[in-house]
Structures are given as C-alpha cells and as structure tokens.
C-alpha cells in the first residue's frame, strides 16, 4: 500500500512536470504565431486536459493489473495517447500536427528518462520474478551467412546481388502463448546489420512458460511514424522520410548492387509509410524460464524477394522508394523474413 501511495505521488509529480514542460512550449508557440494565439491556446489546453485525464485513467487500470513496472506503464500511456496519424497539407504539417510534434519531443525525452530510471531500478534491486529475453539478430541469404559488399547471393528471380547497407526498425515484438494470447515485450529498436551494438534486443518479460511463436513488425507503427517523433540521433535522422513524400521514417533501407549484363548497378529497397508496415509472424515453440533467456532471430534476405511474389530488380525496378507496387511487394514478401532458433 505504501509503495502504491509513493507511486501515486510520483505520478502527480510527473503530471506536474508535464504541465510545466508544455506550458513553456505553449508560450513559445504563442510567440511564434501571434495571430493564431487563441486557436493554439485552446488546442493545447484541451489536448493537455485530455492527456491527463486519460493518463490517470489508464494508470489506474494499469496499476490494478500490474504494479511492478509502473514506469514502463507511464511510458506506454504517453505513447498510446499519440496514436493519431499525421496529416499533411501540401507538404506542410497541419498546425495541430505541429503542436503535437513539439509536445511529442518533450514527452519522448520524459519517457526516455523514465525508462532509464526503471532500468536503474532493475539493476540495483534483487530481481523478483522478472525474466529477460535477449534476441540476437543475425542475417543470411538462403543458406549463406551475410558478408557485406560481395556479390555472392542469388534471389528467386535469379538476380545475383550483394548487400552494402541493411538498416531497419523492429517494433512491437509480442510473444504468442499456446492459447494464442499475446504478451507485449518491446516497443521499437533500430537495427544496423553492420553495427554489432544494435544486434541484441534485450527486454524484460512479464511472464515465463511455454510459447508457440512471436509477432513483430519491420518499421514503426503510426504512433511513432511521424516526422521528428523519435529522438534526434544520427540514426533516426538518417532514416527520416521527407515530409514532401509524406513524412515519418524509413522502415528499412536495404541496398547493394547486382549483376545486370556486363554492369553492376546498385539497388535500393527502401520502405516507409504506414500502409507498408511489414507484419511478421514466426511460429516456433520455445520455453522461457526465470532469469535470462536468449533466442536467435535470423533474417533471410532472400525472403524479401519471394513468397508470395518474386521481386526481380530488372522487372520490378532497382529502387522502391515512392514506388507503391514495389513497396507493396516487399511488404508482403517480408512477412516471413524472420525465423527463430
């Protein structure tokens, strides 16, 4: 009970901080757009009131289920409150989106802070019934492990190709229980196949036991796929999808070159935009026990180019960004790119 009270106080503090942060943001906006003053003010104000009400409501329900990782709860609340899509008018963000973006930045900072705080907690106290799952990513093409910059892979359409860049986001990892119910274990992670530090996705999991598979997405869900919504790191900046092409982020950049007659042109498979979010389902039985568990998550690059439809660089094009048919093919082929081992 005492701990519950303390948590309550902490939440009040967080909400106070929220208001403080937003207030500064609001006054700043007012200075930028004096003419739009009242519209913005009411807009922001309502937004805040709604945020707080829903945050408190969600929090209460959350706590009654699970009082262990309250910090993470707040994190989720913050994101859920932003599930709207971003609308654009002539390449300009609408006013509302602009306001939200500004707020979102602050929220993200706050959320990160909370996540950090919650990580600290886990390290410093003896773990009670928390287990963790490390997913170790690796890559192959057919049966050959990925070696960058060498043309030694062949896809189903017969293109011989190399890989020079493979970067993507992996989101909303869920474990599937034998009764088909799902357990959420992660939000999103950035992966660069060349950077070892990004190849381990570690998460605390709230449950242990038997599982029959995993679901995940290659890309970012609509709540995160908004320009400037992610922290401004070099990685996120480089994944940006220009506002002029709809905004948000690249879900994946897969590049390299291939043999075309006597020359070696490049190919650039880029996907982005909400409708091309790649949903993957992996069936694989495994057991997670208390303490730390690990699983290998393997991407077969050839699977992007087949099943259900072959992708041929010569026919479907050697770049996909902005080419709807190409992005759709990749999205659909992508549902089985991963396997667990």
């Amino acid at each position: 009970m005492i701990s519950f009270l303390i948590v309550q106080i902490y939440i009040n503090f967080v909400i106070g901080l929220w208001l403080l942060v937003n207030w500064q943001e609001m006054t700043k906006l007012l200075r930028i757009h004096p003419l739009l003053k009242w519209f913005q003010f009411i807009d922001c104000f309502l937004l805040n009131v709604m945020q707080i009400i829903s945050a408190v409501r969600r929090f209460v329900t959350f706590v009654s289920y699970e009082s262990e990782s309250v910090f993470i709860g707040v994190f989720i609340v913050v994101f859920i409150s932003f599930k709207d899509d971003c609308r654009h008018f002539n390449g300009h963000p609408t006013l509302l989106t602009f306001v939200k973006r500004q707020l979102m930045k602050k929220y993200l900072a706050l959320a990160l802070l909370l996540i950090i705080a919650s990580c600290k907690k886990d390290e410093d106290t003896t773990p009670v019934e928390t287990s963790s799952l490390s997913l170790n990513l690796s890559f192959k093409s057919g049966s050959t492990p990925l070696l960058f910059d060498t043309i030694n892979y062949t896809n189903a359409a017969g293109n011989q190709y190399s890989v020079s860049r493979l970067q993507f986001y992996i989101s909303n990892i869920q474990l599937i229980k034998p009764d088909s119910s799902l357990v959420d274990i992660s939000d999103f992670s950035y992966v660069d196949a060349r950077v070892a530090a990004t190849l381990k996705i570690k998460n605390n999991i709230p449950v242990t036991g038997q599982f029959i598979g995993m679901k995940l997405q290659v890309g970012l869900d609509s709540a995160h796929n908004i320009s400037n919504a992610l922290p401004a790191t070099n990685e996120n900046i480089n994944m940006a999808w220009p506002d002029m092409m709809g905004g948000g982020y690249h879900f994946m950049k897969l590049e390299g070159s291939y043999i075309s007659g006597l020359s070696f042109p490049g190919y650039a498979m880029h996907i982005g935009r909400n409708q091309y979010l790649v949903n993957c389902v992996i069936s694989h039985s495994f057991t997670l026990s208390e303490g730390s568990n690990s699983l290998g998550l393997v991407m077969d690059i050839n699977e992007w180019y087949k099943n259900p439809a072959n992708y041929d660089f010569e026919v479907d094009g050697n770049y996909s960004m902005g080419v709807m048919a190409a992005m759709m093919k990749l999205k659909e082929n992508g549902s089985d790119v991963f396997m667990l081992q």
């Binding site: 410093d124 401004a232 900046i237 002029m244 490049g266 770049y319």
Partner: protein
Amino acid sequence: MKNKSYILILLLMITGIIHSCKKDAENDAVQTTPYNLIIPSGFPPANIPVGNPLTVEGIELGHHLFYDPILSSNGLSCSSCHIAGMAYSSPAFVAANGDSISVLQIMNLAFNPDFTWNGQFPTTEAVCMGDFEPPFFNTNMDTLVDRLESSTKYKNMFFRAFGNNAFRSMSDLELKTKIVAAIGQFIRTLTSADSKFDRYLNHTENLTSSELTGMAIFFTEQGDCFHCHGGPLMTSNAITNNGLDSIPSGQDRGKYNYTGNILDDGKFSIPSLRNIALTAPYMHDGRYQTLEEVVEFYNSSVHQTSPNIDPIMTKAFKEFGLQLTPFEKQCLVDFLKTFTDTAFVNNPNYQQPN
C-alpha cells in the same frame, strides 16, 4: 522495495550532479568554467571528445589562436584559409604535390563523426595536429615557444585554460596537444542553424515559388538529394561515392588512399550543404566553380560505372541523368541558396576577437 529504488534514483541523480561539477579537476588544479553548447532544435547530440570538454577559458584561448599567425612560421593563421565571410572556407588550396584541395568549412563540427574530405580523422584535434606541418603552418616549435613566452596575453590565457603556462618545460607534443585542444573547443562552438530554409521550417519565413519547386526536387525521388544531404545537418555523414569519376586516380580515390581497401575506392565523406552558396569551388578538388555546374553534374554527368558508386546514384530512371529542365535546374540552385545563414557568418562570437 519500491521506496528503496526511489532513494537510489535520487542518490544517482545527486551523484550525477556532483560528478559533473568535478569533471574539470584533471586540469592542473585550475578552476575552469564549463561551457554549455546550445544544441539547435532537431540536431543530434554533440560529439565531444571525452578528454576535451568545452570550457569558457579553453574556448577563449582557442578563439585567439585560430585568428593568430603566431602559430606559423609563414604568416598564415587558421583564418587565412577558413574565412568568416565564406562560412569559414575559402577558394581552393593547392597542396605541395600540385593537387588542389577545396577548403572545407568550419561549421557544425561538434556534430560531425569524421573529418576532412575522405573522412580520415576522428576528431578536429587530429586534423589540427597536421596544420603545424608544411604546406600549412610549417611551424618551428622553438620560435613558437619564444613567441608564446613573450606574450602576456597567451601566458594568462594558457594558465586560465590549462593551469599551466610553463611553455619551456612542455614537450613539443604537450604544447601542440594543448593548442589543438583549445582550438578544437573553439571550433566546436561554431553552429549554423538559422538559414532561410530553417526559418521556413520554423514557419517564420516563406520561400519563393522557384525555391519551393527546388525544394520539391531536392526532397523527392526526382532529384533525390535528400538521401545524402537531408536532415538538420544537411549531410547523412556517410562516406560514399557520388560518381564524380569513372576511374578515380590519385586523390580522387578518397577513402581508399588511407584504407587501401578496394571497396573504399572513390568514397568521400558527404559534405554538409549548409552555406553552400558561400563555399565555392565545389567537391573535394574544387572541380566545379558554381552551383549551376554542380547541379549539371548530378543532372547529366554522373559516372554510373564508377567503382563502389552509391546505389542511390544508379536508380533505373537515372540512367540518362535526372533529366531536369533548365527551369528546374535553376529552381534547384535557388533552393540551395536558401541554406545560407548570414547570422552565422556575421556572428561576432566567431569572428576575429579584439
């Protein structure tokens, strides 16, 4: 349980604060003032070498040294080649072996992961170390020590920044390291984030219709500049080959020249396009004099068979170039000119100190 963790977090925060206040103690017992670099909104975190945090005193010393020919034996200072009015660059510089090398701008370097055209150096300090050598300063260290010894200004500034101004008892390396550390601190404060294009993004200024047309070319597949020159820094910071030469030779081999790896042939660190209108000539060797020439290169002269060419440059529709109309090319040039940041160029905090 829970209570404990909050106390722990609090403790952690407090130790963090104490720790950050202590940081400068490693300098020979002198109290320096930490300098808070203002990071423009949307920029990535600054990339500051661990051993050389920004201090007010270090930056002041670096600022004076940057503009002072005292470091050289040929009358040059850093500011001879990195000139304020040209966004801290200048027209091409000819190296001793006859190659011409375009002078890079000094701007937003706190956010850069690698330095010089071929990306060879991990810090600005490492770049500056080379400036004591010919064909740059060709510094005679003995006379440099004499000159510093007889300058009360530098004796005071070195003491304030490093707690040490006994130039004669420092080794050459020690003295150089202190000099480049101070200059490194100063040049990391040069930030540019207030161009017309930034103001457009912040909704405080409009672009003309031709600039908007240029923007649409830049930020869509049509011109496809954004994959390499997008984002707040106007560079993706990658090292790649944009197809300048069909068979690169000599300095045109770029990164290959220091890695010896054939996969690095022709690759250069993608330059920022901020203030690009002020930094002619263009490309690592200054081969193009105007932005019109650069746009024409991307429009019709990319060597698609150049080794290790970036896949972005060989998209199927680019086989015969971007095929922009003369009007579209002009719009693209107009848009590139909106990257000019006059507030940066005129910022007195960066210019010649009194």
